[in-house]
Symmetry: C2
Subunit: 354 residues, 2 copies
């Protein structure tokens, strides 16, 4: 007789970035926002009616859909919400990439794509970035693939491929769904959102985790054609009808209300990023020209692992990815002015370039 | 060239119970708790630190695992948490039931099991309940099946199969994982939890949605052997590392703190259910002897649909399921004393038995 263990679907799980227990750590390793969420979020939590928690939440998250619709000028039936953009992307892989045909994504990219492909047994090929770490659009064109997913800006490079390049890829692939993962788009890149009415195979995913400083609340969303969103909802409602809890729906709505705060904080992070580029250059680093809330840096003389360890010993956490094309780099999240000053102060001493 | 639509994984979604907009409705249709959550939940929400929402939540939900461990006397590495027990069950189907062998569940049961089986392309057979709507254990024994899932108490019958019967089924099926879905166990049935150390193929799932009055927060959990929980976590972390948001983790912990409140409210619902049984009998209904927070009732003379519609017109919502074996019944959630008085007041008039 067989055993139950032989029947188990065995996978190698994704490893999330380290969350240090020590509160004094300068945490530039998980692309979190260094500023708190809008104060409208604070108010909604304080005044939340805990008694309604006995009831199931609105499975459609209608209020949040309406708030997203108002903010982005997209009809509600062209918006999908999920528990973080990881949930939105996982549901999208399950819905759109199960034809058995090979899907494509960049070789250096968000490290969850191949995890989902393995989990859902989706065959895939990776398209190598160019030497300068930019997206090689030729690799996505004329391939008649089963699906495409490209983050823009890409992670961990931070590079913006530009709407024209992305539109060429979308236009060339009407045979499959093309997902543009815009987790970092609010830090200066241009969104492909206006293209959703032109291409019914385009899904644009975004998140509240980065630009809205709500990683702790788990809210992701996607825009697409009515057909696309309908298929996605059908799969989602067959998986778990009530994924987003009541308070989180309220938090999302509150966050969208304060547009000025949102714009101000994004601008602060952009300004700090541009200053960081100058500092990194001065210290002998080179890097792709990031449009995100992180910079992917490489030092001309010193190894990435050595710098990583030296920073870590001094309670500054950044992210290092193994791998042939990424092992020489560090991904550094943009923190507050104060945090970045501490980072550059340490690096100046350590590299002897002060 | 093929179209993207041909590649879509098309499913028929589950239909959740109706959530009426009218606040005056007496809502006995979704098995929600009629009482609010513990006041410790209110306090934790009011005092929640909204600034930490900028950070990712603890992906392991360690605090909640510890609180569950303390409450149930089960080591943390034998506990899994998810976004409602629907999430726990969906992940379990994905992890344990993908061998391609047929899985078994009762013909009259929670209506999501066949939705997940379809979604994940898992072949299944249903085992008919006996004439009296009890679980037919012979149908689950000697079948060498690929997986088994049985709710206890079963829904929508409310019947408790008893630990001895369930243990026979678990013992006979070492070749597959057996899931006992105990969503309603706190209302008087005996849990199979003590068996997890005896049978490493047993997964016991529970939820905060019913007995803890937290349907709006989405917290489910499961107990099992270390091996089982490890496999389940591997799949979960390959799907979405950060499923449970920060505030929900705090809400779960707070809810577990107030044990007296929990026991008191469960007892109130049990007492009201026993009173309801007498009332239903008096009014000409028969029903399986429920151990849950609902009763599955059938009237000797009047059609279920007629009663359903009459109730609905009077703002009392109960649940009706189509189907050969369920169409003559109504599932009535146990509400407060006041709500149940209103229900029986109306039924007495309507049925002319007052």
């Amino acid at each position: 007789m067989s055993t139950w263990e032989e029947k188990v679907h065995k996978v190698t799980p994704y490893t999330p970035g380290e969350q240090p227990k020590n509160k004094n750590v300068i945490k530039l390793n998980t692309n979190e926002n260094p500023y708190p969420p809008a104060s409208s979020v604070k108010r909604i939590i304080e005044s939340a009616d805990y008694e309604v928690l006995r009831r199931y939440p609105d499975p459609l998250a209608s209020g949040l859909l309406q708030a997203l619709s108002d903010s982005y000028g997209v009809p509600k039936d062209q918006i999908f919400v999920g528990v973080g953009s990881d949930d939105v992307l996982a549901m999208s892989f399950l819905t759109f990439f199960t034809s058995g045909e090979r899907i494509l994504f960049p070789d250096v990219t968000y490290s969850f794509y191949d995890v989902w492909a393995d989990e859902f047994r989706i065959p895939f090929d990776t398209v190598p970035l160019r030497e300068d770490l930019s997206i090689d659009k030729e690799g996505f064109i004329g391939k008649n693939s089963g699906g495409i997913v490209i983050p823009n800006p890409n992670a961990p490079t931070g590079l913006d491929a530009g709407v024209d390049t992305l539109e060429e890829i979308i236009r060339d692939n009407p045979q499959c769904v093309v997902i543009i993962d815009e987790a970092y788009v609010d830090f200066g890149a241009e969104s492909v959102l206006p293209l959703i009415d032109k291409y019914d195979n385009l899904l644009v995913t975004q998140t509240f985790s980065k630009s809205r400083a709500l990683a702790g609340s788990r809210i992701g969303f996607a825009f697409g054609s009515r057909k696309l969103i309908k298929y996605l909802n059908d799969v989602k409602f067959s998986f778990n009808s009530y994924t987003m809890d009541y308070i989180t729906q309220q938090v999302g709505i509150a966050s969208l209300q304060d547009r000025d705060y949102f714009r101000m904080r994004c601008l602060e992070i952009i300004n700090e990023r541009e200053r960081a580029k100058k500092e990194f250059s001065r210290l002998g680093f080179d890097f792709p020209d990031s449009k995100s809330n992180f910079i992917f840096v490489h030092h001309k003389d010193r190894s990435a692992v050595d710098i990583f360890n030296a920073l870590r010993e001094n309670d500054i956490y950044v992210r290092h990815f193994d791998g042939e094309r990424t092992g020489d780099y560090l991904r550094v999240t943009i923190g507050t002015r104060e945090q970045m000053d501490a980072l550059f102060g340490f690096l100046s001493d350590y590299l002897g370039e002060g």
